[in-house]
């Protein structure tokens, strides 16, 4: 029997998740052992834990890429930077939750503990390099998020949203697991490295089994990143969940799922004909970019509009993923089509590096922007009308510029960033990501993405117009104030603008060589 010999090097990649789990346990125990009425300290513990884990991950991000824990996880900058982003989002979400829950008299240590457990799941999911590890971490992340979604007991909405999220989440996890079982049968291993090695032969012998496994795993992931046509659950769940949780779902869950998807398919596509994954990702990207923006157009409910917007953003991310899997086409095919790759300047040597940079920078931008936007919505919500449907109507934003100029300016920055208007981080993210797609020769898809995002700008600008050009209704509610909410909103607004103007060393960090293990 071979006993694994674990060293410090093996535990390094999982250290951030370890910090998060210890923080979560401390919060759980604090909830039952310290009974004070004032519970803001829990949000502070949650935030500090997330920041500490983020610092550990950032330290890891400069390590060379390698496999750890016998190839069950990998330590590479891609997953560690993703962990940094998740920790950033978690810290902001904890701060937002403090004010949100305080206003509803529902502050509990369990809430922050679940947020941290969920973040640990995201971090581990991004570095999983084996199917069962992947499945377990996906479930750690999902189960915590189901519970968070249904956390508030007021009115029927949270339970309903939690139920829908649970059913579709569990359904997608089963699809992924069954796909993994089929691939295990075809290749005899669940470790991505071995699966990748065995796939060419397995594909030659049993192409049906491999394609079925590939399709099921892809469908499972598509549910998690909320790509059209696997997006049906998104609007209801995002609307019904407590707003800080929605923020975490839209940023963190999606980021982790995208990173895990990239890692999985880098190994899975070996032996498959290269067009298959490329066309699958291109189609998902196109449908999500166009569908998300079009579905957002008629929404007057801002929270629901942002849910559709997050589908569109998943589409942009998938555009990057498609660029990663663009087949190196032979010279001479000059046809520009939606699902063809046309190299502009001969073959681009380093498409992968620019795609990783684009994905990470886009995720960074989306994390701070989405947290800020949902945070502003959370601050404008009033608990009295939680059961009514107009809580998040555009009217709520009318005249905000006169009543609360600072809040309106922050929300305007978030909206412009979501729309990809300079000088915000959203613009730079789109620039890098679409640039990577063009580098890979995906001209048709990139143009479609730009057109779709122009339609999206209208949706976001409408919120700005309401804030600045409509008079405030007489009974406009004052946003509730809590210092944690204001800290979170100021931090994200500053990040949105500052990273948009001066990304500083961040772009360099994200474009270092050897981002992804095994690529």
């Amino acid at each position: 029997m071979n006993i694994p010999h674990l060293t410090f090097q093996d535990l390094l990649p999982v250290a951030p998740a370890g910090v998060l789990v210890v923080g979560a346990i401390v919060l759980l125990l604090s909830e039952v052992f310290l009974s004070t009425a004032q519970r803001t300290y829990q949000a502070v513990i949650g935030t500090l834990t997330a920041l500490l884990a983020g610092a550990v991950a950032m330290n890891n991000a400069f390590e060379p890429a390698r496999a750890a824990l016998q190839g069950y996880v990998v330590l590479d900058p891609f997953s560690q930077w993703m962990t940094v982003l998740v920790c950033l989002g978690t810290a902001l979400a904890s701060l937002l939750s403090a004010g949100f829950l305080n206003h509803r008299n529902a502050e509990r240590g369990e809430f922050y503990a679940l947020i941290l457990f969920s973040a640990a799941g995201m971090s581990l999911l991004a570095m999983s390099a084996e199917f069962i590890t992947l499945f377990i971490n996906l479930e750690v992340l999902s189960i915590s998020t189901y519970a968070l979604t249904a956390f508030l007991r007021r009115g029927p909405r949270p339970a309903e949203a939690g139920f829908k999220y649970f059913i579709l989440g569990a359904f997608s996890a089963s699809l992924l697991l069954y796909g993994a079982a089929l691939l295990y049968g075809a290749t005899g291993s669940t470790r991505f490295l071995d699966v990748g090695l065995a796939l060419p032969q397995a594909f030659a012998q049993q192409p049906g089994l491999v394609y079925a496994g590939f399709g099921l795993v892809l469908a499972g992931f598509a549910f998690k990143v909320a790509a059209v046509p696997f997006h049906m659950w998104t609007p209801d769940v995002y609307e019904g969940a407590p707003t800080p949780v929605t923020a975490l779902m839209s940023a963190g869950v999606k980021a982790a799922a995208v990173v895990a998807l990239v890692r999985t398919f880098l190994f899975l596509v070996k032996g498959l004909s290269p067009e298959v994954p490329f066309i699958a990702f291109s189609a998902l990207a196109l449908l999500s970019m166009v569908g998300g923006n079009l579905l957002a157009l008629p929404q007057r409910n801002v929270k629901r509009m942002l849910a559709y917007s997050s589908i569109a953003h998943a589409g942009y991310l998938l555009l990057g993923v498609a660029a990663l899997f663009a087949p190196a086409t032979a010279k001479g095919s000059d046809a520009v089509g939606l699902f063809t790759a046309t190299p502009l300047l001969g073959s681009m040597p380093n498409v992968a590096a620019s795609v990783y940079k684009g994905l990470l920078f886009y995720l960074l931008g989306y994390t701070v922007t989405a947290l800020g936007a949902f945070g502003t919505i959370a601050a404008l919500e009033r608990r009295e009308d939680e059961t009514r449907s107009n809580t998040w109507d555009l009217e709520r934003f009318a005249g905000l510029a006169q009543r609360k100029p600072g809040w309106a300016a922050a929300m305007a920055a978030f909206m412009l960033s979501l729309g990809g208007v300079p000088p915000t981080v959203g613009f730079l993210g789109k620039l890098y990501l679409f640039g990577a797609a063009v580098d890979a020769g995906l001209l048709g898809l990139a143009v479609a993405g730009v057109l779709a995002s122009v339609a999206g700008v209208y949706v976001y600008l409408r919120v700005v117009v309401y804030m600045y050009m409509r008079p405030a209704p007489a009974d406009a509610p004052a946003p509730f104030r809590h210092w944690t909410t204001e800290v979170a909103l100021i931090a994200s607004a500053v990040a949105v603008v500052a990273l948009g103007v001066l990304p500083g060393p961040v772009t360099e960090w994200f474009s270092r060589a050897g981002m992804v293990f095994g690529s």
């Binding site: 029997m1 006993i3 694994p4 674990l6 346990i25 759980l28 125990l29 909830e31 039952v32 052992f33």
Partner: protein, 122 residues
Amino acid sequence: MESPLTPYVPVAIVLFLAGAMAAAIPFIAGLLGPRSPSAVKSEIFEGGNPPIGSARQRFAVKFYVVALLFIVFDVEAVFLYPWAVNFQQLGWFGYATMAVFAATLVVALVYVWKKGALSWES
């Protein structure tokens, strides 16, 4: 000379026997057992006490909480078996790993306990 269904013959025999038993026993009991019905006997039996109310009440939510906790803690035992079987070979590595695992469960138990999820009253 074997049909592909041959391996299933024992399964079919078990299924047949189970079905036959289930059908036969109530019949035989009705045939052999003495019968002297009375009002008291045909009452619903509830531990000797007179029955109160309908059987289809809603259970207290406490019941579900205990049941759910039972499922979770019970299934964790699944990891103890492989460890127990290979205890000698796994040595201190296995011991340390399982100690961390068990410690996590103990923390969960302490939380559940202090939260009051295990107390039936109150």
